[in-house]
Subunit: 115 residues, 2 copies
């Protein structure tokens, strides 16, 4: 079910779940941050963290499932690239929440001004 819509974006509950879930891990956020500027292979990334290659691989699978990174084959390597589109989806939702809150404040202000 689509729960949030803007001009150019439909967000299902599941999709939002996956994006936030993927962002809820320090290693995964670090991978996203890193690959937003510099594409890297899985091995490149695996070297940077104190865990097994397979563990990093799994993190990347989670990120890919959430659309936060994309994989691109390059010979025997897979280049991982951060995807700003998924970031924007999360931002869009949070912005909506902020507007909702601001709306309450505005109504309270109006109520006060009226008395």
């Amino acid at each position: 079910m689509v729960v949030y819509q803007t001009q150019d974006m439909d967000l299902s509950d599941d999709e939002v779940d996956r994006i936030f879930r993927a962002l809820a891990d320090t290693t995964r956020r670090d991978i996203v941050r890193r690959t937003l500027t510099d594409e890297a292979s899985i091995s490149d990334l695996a070297h940077r963290y104190e865990m097994s290659f397979a563990a990093v691989q799994k993190h990347i699978t989670v990120l890919e499932g959430a659309g936060l990174v994309t994989k691109h084959r390059n010979g025997r390597e897979r280049r991982i690239r951060g995807n700003p589109e998924a970031i924007r989806k999360a931002q869009t939702l949070l912005n909506a929440y902020e507007r909702i809150w601001q709306g309450r404040i505005d109504r309270l202000d109006a109520l006060l001004a009226q008395n």
Copy 2:
């Protein structure tokens, strides 16, 4: 360890983990959205979802742990109130990621212009 700082905000890895984790569930996001405009008791909220009172209570505990809602005693009730501050913390991080990505684009543009 503090991983992200702005003028008025320090964000530890754990704190960010908790915020995103808490947001990674449809019921919890709904509770946040709802209580950002209208304070509600736990029972009020529990009535709205097809799960036990205790389950909703647990969701609220998770949200409170992430700072996304606050509890305020009112007689035998606890009023739950959404907290925009935690939303802003998440926004701040995502904005930083977007700027990082934009930075890469800017550098690529500069490189192209140079040749």
